[in-house]
Subunit: 207 residues, 2 copies
DNA sequence: AAAACTATTTTTGTATACATTTTTATTAAT
DNA sequence: ATTAATAAAAATGTATACAAAAATAGTTTT
């Protein structure tokens, strides 16, 4: 597996020290590669929001905080609805089949959080693909991949899994019935719901 | 100067080959550093949208295209208005002074495009800073920095400079008069205007 | 005792060398 | 002649070695 992925897993599993700079030499030993690919991974994780700069040099694992979660879901709501409305009329039968496949995968047990996040994104992405707006899609993808950092809460204490899956199913039905407006409103609520649930939970956690 | 910045300048000045993969060895010779910092620069430019992957290896300078420009400005309009509305009530006198300083800088002659883009962003950023939403700000910053790639048109053939500066001035006046709604509408129009102008121009160019 | 400077150590950044992968050119086969 | 297979080359990725920068510890000064 890619070093960058391994680091993500380890961040999610809290197996890397928080609050102190990550040392390239240590990671190099831990993952059994030289410092060059470690440096590559750290810099790309930094630009993806998984790590933050530490003073003049080095990076740190940032604390999860509700403002970030709120921002991510606010942006997702705005941009994904935009993208979805651009795609709506062009969503094909094959897209829906694909989407259902990802949904089924997501119901399996023993998936890593990173993979769950990937599947969740693939589901949404399938609905947006038809818009053929690569730039908008790339940004939305970035937001989804950042949100993965918070997935531990949604699949853990928040027990959001079942409700989320039901909503995904319903969204597909609305698409099939060609009711664009209803689908759009539903998607927005789906995202906003998840955001509010997560944000409120994080707020309570820090009080 | 940083290698990454130099490459950006050279892309804007069309001094690097388009449509063919950029070779690390050549860039290494050109900028007088080893391949390691070149690789770093290429990978970060790729994640910033200045370069795109070329097949299984290597990167290329992408063509400018109107869909990308439209996407960037659509996103900017949505997200910057959101950020601005969060910031509005907290914008300080010092912020406005700073903003006017950047505006003055922007009026000087013989600035590089990259620097103009930086100043334009710094102006907008000054108005959003008070929102204290780092995540949202980081994404918006990314969008602005990508839009720099299109700045050559706006300062060149489109002659947008004067009108844009006037709008910036007017925006500051609206902020000072505490008219949040008017300011918000004006900002949205300011961004959408720039977007439409640029997009239409690019569409014509490719027809 | 606190602050400022200096020396030492640690850590990151860059160059060079080597390994692996990808691309291109060449040869063989249909 | 076109395609497939193979060999050569060129290019990227990674390891190690070294240089520069940052952080730390120790010393001096106020």
């Amino acid at each position: 597996m890619d070093v960058s992925q391994s680091i993500k897993e380890d961040i999610l599993k809290n197996q890397l020290p928080r609050g102190v700079p990550l040392r390239q030499a240590i990671l190099s030993a831990r993952y059994g590669v030289s410092r060059i690919p470690i440096r590559d991974a750290l810099s790309s994780l930094k630009s993806e929001g998984w790590l933050v700069p530490n003073g003049k040099a080095g990076v740190m694992i940032p604390d999860l905080n509700w403002t970030e979660a709120e921002d991510l879901y606010l942006m997702r709501a705005e941009l994904e609805c935009l993208l979805f409305s651009m795609a709506f009329d062009y969503i094909s039968k094959e897209d829906l089949i694909k989407a259902r496949y990802f949904l089924a995968e997501l119901n399996k047990e023993n998936l890593t959080l990173v993979y769950k996040g990937e599947l969740n994104w693939l589901f949404h992405h399938t609905l947006y693909r038809a818009a053929e707006r690569p730039t908008l899609q790339r940004v939305v993808e970035g937001l989804n991949k950042q949100a993965v950092r918070y997935l531990g809460f949604q699949y853990g204490p928040l027990g959001y899994k079942v409700r989320s899956q039901d909503q995904h199913e319903e969204l597909l039905l609305l698409i099939e019935s060609k009711d664009k407006n209803a689908a759009l409103i539903f998607l927005r609520q789906h995202i906003e719901n998840a955001g509010i649930l997560l944000t409120e939970f994080l707020k309570k956690l820090n009080s």
